[in-house]
Symmetry: C2
Subunit: 254 residues, 2 copies
């Protein structure tokens, strides 16, 4: 949302956006440009629904900027967030393999989306096999993150779960700009956090205070500062490697 390089090969976006996105797309420049050129950028507002449970899938959506959550509402009114999407992510790439989405997608911030209509995508996939591979890899990356969440939900204490999630988001959000400090925007309410971590909102509050009290983090109005990275990693038993491998996979796997 800063310098709009009108001269970019990618015609629709500011330079910064393109860089964040392209860093995640493991595609050769021609494939990448073909894919991005097929998108019709679209802005959405915070809180807007991009997709609802049961909707047919109409497009592949790449997040250009902003964040979104994938959530499922249960009969008793409870809610579980099953994914958080950051710039460069393909929103529920895996769902595309099926007829309809089983989760709702909600924008956590105002966001710029790059939706690619399914018909166009199919043509591209036929013409450029690397795009199928990229979709597969993205699906696999999201599945690996999900596995980490499952382990947290099943076997970690509330504190470790929270710490682990914060570490994960820190890594994922800072991939594009590794020079940034230890603070970043995490536009989640405590209610959102509780729906990610399978806790009550009240307990999230107490856990956050615990982490604050240990001098590990500050978290205020959607901004997280990591005060003691080593300590936080220790509480989380966090191994950053699983993510860097996901995000920057070995070249030449097709």
């Amino acid at each position: 949302m800063r310098n709009a390089n009108a001269g970019d090969a990618i015609h629709f976006g500011p330079g910064l956006l393109a860089r964040q996105v392209t860093a995640r797309l493991t595609l050769d420049p021609p494939d990448q440009q073909a894919l991005l050129a097929a998108a019709t950028p679209r802005h959405v507002l915070k809180g807007e629904y991009l997709m609802e449970e049961g909707d047919p899938r109409l497009s592949l959506i790449i997040v250009g900027s902003g964040m979104a959550k994938a959530t499922r509402v249960l009969a008793d009114g409870g809610q579980q967030i099953v994914a958080i999407f950051v710039p460069g992510d393909m929103i529920n790439a895996g769902d595309l393999a099926f007829r309809r989405s089983v989760v709702s997608i909600v924008a956590l911030t105002s966001a710029l989306l790059l939706p690619i209509p399914l018909a166009t995508l199919r043509t591209l996939m036929d013409a450029r096999p690397a795009i199928v591979t990229a979709l597969w890899r993205e699906t696999a990356a999201q599945a690996a993150i999900q596995q980490e969440w499952m382990i947290g939900l099943g076997r970690r204490t509330a504190e470790a779960r929270m710490a682990h999630f914060l570490c994960e988001m820190s890594c994922r959000l800072q991939l594009g700009h590794p020079d940034a400090g230890d603070g970043f925007d995490l536009p989640l309410t405590q209610q959102d956090l509780s729906d990610v971590l399978g806790l009550s909102a009240v307990h999230v509050n107490r856990v956050l205070q615990g982490l604050r009290g240990q001098g590990l983090i500050e978290f205020d109005r959607g901004r997280l500062e990591i005060r003691n990275k080593t300590g936080l990693y220790a509480v989380a038993e966090f191994d950053a490697q699983y993510l860097s491998e996901l995000m920057y996979p070995e070249a030449g796997s097709s």
Copy 2:
């Protein structure tokens, strides 16, 4: 493991096995045969490790018969099972997109595996794009099941979680032979169930007794009988559709 049709196009397997497997591979016959022909069948015994955390990925493994679990051991000795594989599944298809596995794979029964060396697979993927699509679809299917587990771990009671898991396994195991009754082999100990559901083994025992007491199931020595399918589905809030869509996706999505 019954009638060995030596005349089958697929040279290594009994007819029944081939049918179970091929029903899940959404590939045209030529692609399917090319893929399966590249496998060197291998038997493993109950309890055998097929893969350990951190191992490099050397092959794509399709389950021919038997079952396996994907598990992750934590520092405190706790354990979380993140997937159960049944005949026709590709074991951690998603992990192939990366360098190494982050989970261990253990055989739950003696099993027949169809491993396809990674080098061969890459050649096949280049020659037959439909195979990449199939890997992607399989990864997506497993991710969708994982999401369902996450929802259970995060937001369902122990009883609903258990019921839901049993419903899921019932559907997945009976896809090949829909005529079978409401009983099937589920070779999991109560300890295994606890590691799937994020509970203690003691509590699993009590939950099972609860379901038995309501006349919903029988579960004895690895054999599950569903006595009241409607009732069990109700307790689980189980929607069978999400699975049938995963397993029998619409034709022509490439």
